[in-house]
């Protein structure tokens, strides 16, 4: 067949990765869950920010307006959109196991780590673009609805604001990667989503049962507490600095992904 005759060329890892990246990008683009979860994330980021921009000025005092971390407030939609990003990260890999597609995938690309690397790259780039764009849009929407001269007004050039807004996109991306790593380990959508949400929300609840001094020393290193430092402009007591905190958050995702990469080539598909 002429369409495939010229393919028996010498091996090039770069060309191989490029082929698998194209395949994984096409996979991500051709299932509805991608669009639904990203749409949900964008809507919750932007709509909540706009709503807060409209409502907040009339509900809080001028003194509060001056002291509140308004950038972080404008990124309040993250509470919902992080779930959407996490679920999408999980589904990128578990939907293959859930549907049986994984057998077709691994028959086409038996180099399993290359396949998982391509999935990770495609997801990370997509999440980064949508994450940063929607967080920037959220920030701008919030600012757009504030009355002129409002105490909560900030500018992207103010210290820490641009870092917080783009950092929110980074946070969503790394959270999705944590989901992808857990998905690669657990291989079931429900199990991996439950584990991800548990990892985000349960440690803080458990820590609240501990003595205050323990909370102060452990608390900053819990996944969500560490990750959220990146979206914080006004530094709070008993939290890490933005970049070190975000670094700790990245370690959780890196640990999950590393385990996923190790396991994928040692287990039967």
């Amino acid at each position: 067949m002429t369409v495939i005759a010229a393919l028996r060329a010498p091996y090039s890892p770069v060309a191989h990765l490029a082929d698998v990246l194209r395949s994984e990008l096409w996979k991500l683009r051709t299932v509805r869950s991608t669009y639904w979860s990203l749409l949900a994330a964008v809507v919750s980021n932007v709509a909540l920010a706009a709503l807060l921009g409209i409502l907040l000025p009339s509900y809080i005092s001028a003194r509060e307006q001056a002291t509140i971390d308004s950038t972080r407030v404008s990124l309040g939609g993250l509470h919902l959109s992080q779930v959407a990003f996490g679920v999408l990260g999980v589904l990128v890999i578990t939907s293959e196991y859930g549907t049986g597609m994984i057998r077709a995938t691994l028959a086409a690309v038996p180099q399993r780590r290359l396949m998982l690397a391509a999935k990770t790259i495609v997801f990370a780039v997509t999440a980064l673009i949508v994450g940063i764009a929607s967080c920037l849009a959220a920030y701008l929407a919030f600012q757009a609805f504030l009355p002129a001269g409002d105490g909560m007004r900030t500018s992207l050039s103010d210290p820490g604001v641009l870092r917080a807004v783009t950092g929110a996109g980074l946070y969503l991306t790394v959270l999705g990667l944590l989901g992808l790593g857990l998905g690669a380990i657990i291989r079931s959508s429900a199990g991996a989503v439950a584990t991800l949400l548990g990892l985000l929300f349960v440690p803080s609840l458990l820590a609240a049962l501990l003595p205050q001094s323990w909370q102060d020393s452990i608390g900053p290193y819990l996944p969500m507490n560490a990750g959220e430092t990146i979206i914080t402009v006004h530094h709070q007591a008993h939290t890490l600095q933005p970049w070190p905190g975000f670094g700790v958050f990245c370690l959780y995702a890196a640990a999950a992904l590393t385990a996923g990469f190790i396991l994928i080539s040692h287990r039967d598909a």
Binding site: M1, V3, I4, L7, R8, Y11, A15, H16, D19, V20, R22, S23, E24, W26, K27, T30, V31, R32, S33, S95, E96, T99, G100, M101, R103, A104, T105, L106, A107, A108, V109, P110, Q111, D268, A269
Partner: protein
């Protein structure tokens, strides 16, 4: 050419595949036969590197599967029917696979036509019937125009027209010199499609032979004779060293003699015959005989050694 050597796979306490050695030569349809749970699907997963063997090895065209950079150009496989994401259209499913192996989108259109899914190409594969799902699986297997094809129960769920289509497709692919390995638990289907047989039971090789040798090689042919003096006839035949099994209704099952010889014995001794007929054991009977009897879980005597096609 697919070659397995001492292939074993253990899942916990179960030995699903047990020291399997076989060769699947090009240019023929080889039927991979065994009852449900015999280890056919596991063996196919081992060939494709989806599962790692506990011991032994298997190669396709002389190489382990994981060594292929563009495996779809070397091996086309259809394992279970639904190895696709139900939310994707048939065309997009095939495109996902094609892109990973550098196969052009034009080839996707070709295989869609080849399996008759052109009109359903834009539909979500999740809504496909079992038969359409099988066709999509076969389309995926044919994407890279591979010299080796491995199909697990491909006629499962197909209507009679589809069964005929698959049968002719596989025969023509083998006639082009390709290696075709086809699993089934149905002997009747194999007898119409396959040239060679690999029969396994409980993970072990029972027979590796051609359909022809399989049918004629064993104690398959017998003469059925019915006579009111069946005891006398049985004694006469046995005295000539012929094996006789007594059956209900004055019938005898005679092996090791042609019907002519039995008739002649009866005439010479003045015995009345009510029935004299030659029977050939069907493939189904032979297969049942081999796989139901645990004593026979070993390689059949005189199993043919596969001869690689010179092509």
């Amino acid at each position: 050419m697919i070659e397995a050597s001492g292939l074993s796979k253990r899942y916990g306490a179960t030995l699903a595949v047990d020291g399997l050695s076989f060769a699947v030569p090009p240019g023929q349809v080889t039927g991979f036969l065994g009852p449900n749970g015999a280890g056919k699907s596991t063996t196919m997963r081992l060939i494709l590197g989806l599962d790692a063997p506990s011991s032994g090895s298997v190669t396709v065209s002389g190489r382990p599967y994981a060594a292929f950079r563009r495996p779809l150009l070397e091996v086309g496989a259809m394992l279970e029917a639904k190895a696709f994401h139900g939310g994707r259209s048939a065309r997009n499913h095939l495109l996902c696979l094609a892109l990973s192996n550098g196969i052009s989108p034009a080839r996707v259109e070709q295989v869609l036509d080849l399996v008759g899914l052109r009109s359903a190409a834009r539909k979500r594969a999740g809504g496909f019937s079992l038969g359409m799902g099988q066709r999509l699986g076969i389309a995926a297997a044919l994407l890279g125009d591979p010299p080796v094809l491995i199909l697990d129960e491909p006629v499962n769920g197909l209507d009679p027209e589809g069964v005929l289509w698959i049968r002719n497709l596989l025969k023509s692919l083998a006639a082009e010199g390709r290696t075709v390995l086809l699993s089934s638990h149905l002997m009747s289907e194999m007898s119409l499609t396959a040239d060679r047989l690999i029969i396994i039971g409980r993970g072990r090789l029972i027979a590796q032979t051609t359909i022809k040798d399989f049918l004629t090689g064993g104690p398959g042919n017998f003469v059925r004779v019915r006579s009111p003096q069946s005891s006398a006839l049985a004694a006469l035949l046995e005295s000539r060293g012929i094996t006789v099994t007594r059956q209900p209704g004055n019938a005898l099952r005679v092996t090791g003699a042609a019907s002519d010889a039995v008739g002649e014995v009866a005439r010479a001794n003045g015995l009345t015959l009510q029935e004299l007929s030659e029977h050939q054991t069907s493939l189904e009977d032979r297969y049942m005989e081999l796989t139901s009897d645990s004593v026979d879980y070993r390689t059949a005597e005189g199993a043919a050694v596969p001869v690689p096609n010179p092509n």
